[in-house]
């Protein structure tokens, strides 16, 4: 398989997405605001609490990283896929001399790296550098727990991008089958935000829920990399986390491919 067309679409879309600087600035403001609310709410829960399975600093790291890498989440199907499905141009997608799944996957990778990159850098700088400078160091993002944790965090974050792209592409395929993005966006978007730890950090869920949360795919989108960063996952637990991310990427890519060939074999082009 030649890589060039996929790399080309990745590069073009990446550059396109980097154009939205005003949107990124507005988004940055929203993320700070949201992060501040979450931090204050969880601080209130921690006040006077005993035997919490996560320190407050680890929770802070989890929240700030969550705000920084918010756009990495599989929020919605690709708007361009939605458009081609509705207009009937999906037939043109099939005419391209490339593998449609890989092509859409490459576009998803661009979407899940360019926008998060624009958003993450100012958020990380604010949470890790500016907060301590203005005397709010008790609320700041701390440094990663050691060099090994830092390296493994980067690996895990890369796997999170691959996993998020696999879920996004699966959402694109379901959109193609259902002719509408609405249902899949609401269901997968809602599940992903909660089950990745976006509302409540997963370790703070009740103990009986922990085994269930550990084996589901959405943990790999945020929970696993963030806990590696703060040292909440260490040793074999880190390796298990990385393995879980990798297995889910393989499974979801396989499911996405199978569902795509099934859908495309009976796609009916709407309009002309």
């Amino acid at each position: 398989m030649k890589m060039r067309p996929y790399l080309a679409v990745l590069r073009v879309r990446f550059e396109l997405l980097l154009q939205y600087r005003a949107a990124a600035l507005a988004g940055f403001g929203t993320q700070c605001w949201w992060g501040a609310i979450k931090v204050m709410v969880l601080a209130a829960f921690f006040r006077g609490a005993t035997a919490v399975p996560m320190t407050f600093q680890q929770t802070l790291d989890y929240i700030w990283l969550g705000q920084a890498f918010l756009m990495l989440q599989p929020w919605s199907a690709d708007v361009d896929v939605v458009r081609v499905v509705r207009s009937g141009d999906v037939a043109l997608e099939r005419l391209r001399p490339v593998d449609t799944y890989a092509f859409w996957y490459a576009r998803a990778v661009a979407r899940r790296t360019a926008t998060p990159l624009l958003r993450a850098i100012p958020m990380l700088v604010t949470a890790a550098v500016i907060l301590p400078l203005v005397g709010l160091s008790t609320w700041a993002l701390s440094a990663p727990k050691g060099g090994v944790a830092a390296v493994l965090f980067v690996v895990s974050l890369a796997l999170a991008v691959a996993l998020s792209s696999a879920i996004s592409t699966l959402m694109d395929v379901v959109t193609t089958a259902a002719l509408s993005e609405r249902g899949v966006n609401a269901v997968v978007g809602g599940l992903a935000i909660v089950l990745s730890g976006g509302v409540v950090p997963l370790p703070l869920f009740p103990d009986w829920a922990q085994p269930l949360l550990k084996y589901q795919p959405f943990a790999g989108l945020a929970d696993i990399p963030f806990r590696i960063y703060s040292g909440h996952l260490a040793g074999t637990a880190t390796l298990f986390g990385l393995a879980s991310q990798s297995v889910w990427i393989i499974v979801l890519v396989a499911v996405g491919r199978a569902l795509m060939s099934h859908t495309m074999s009976r796609v009916q082009v709407q309009g002309g």
């Binding site: 509408s180 809602g190 509302v199 703070l204 869920f205 009740p206």
Partner: protein, 267 residues
Amino acid sequence: MSAFRLYLRYIGISLRGQMQYPAAFLITSAGAFFSTVIEFFALWMLFVRFDDVDGWRFEEVALFYGVIGVSFALADAVTRGFDLFGPQFVKTGDFDRLLVRPRSTILQLLGYELRANRVGRLAQGMLAWAIGMHMSTIAWSWREWAVLLFAVVGGMALFAGILVLQATLAFWTVESLEIANTLTYGGVEAAQYPLDIYAAWFRRFLTFVVPMACIAYFPVAWALGRAERTGVPDWLLPLAPMMGIVFFLASLWVWRFGVRHYTSTGS
């Protein structure tokens, strides 16, 4: 025709239009219900872990959550015209057409659309509200109900006021500014909890700048019999939602100022 009858006519047409796509209505409503209920579920899980937040129990927080959720869902359903004002009316020049009609621009924009699928979020708010009331040991009388319903009216007015201000800004910026989302969605997020858990500066902002405290925190704390937590006299708390209405009236005054300064884009 009276303004109210005309408004009913407007939303009747809007609803009939949306019901032409029943599947889309059902999917988006059910989707909104599902994705918001799962967030409420996560909040419950947090209380399983921590028991209480600064002395507030789950059923009490559920009532704050429900009241603010219901207010926002209702306001969000009726203010679509203001939400889309920049791109739909200023950028296109369509606002000119509203101005030549012999009816108020506010009425016409309110009549732009009644979003039926907001029923999904409304249902989530009502569910949280019901759980909060059901689990509580308070004997609910008509007085508490009256104050909570007044809180919803005040909340709708406050959120509508924020949307009117967002639309007013579009007279100068043309594009809609997403910054209002930090006040609407962000306000909901913050006011889902009793505000005394926050830092003082944040609580003051949500009391005196955007009076989010007046439409959920004060009346609900009063209904729960926890007035002492607010630091405000007991008799004043049930009247607090009035501030939402005052905010709305003030936003209408700013809107009229904006309309006077409107220059058509000419497109």
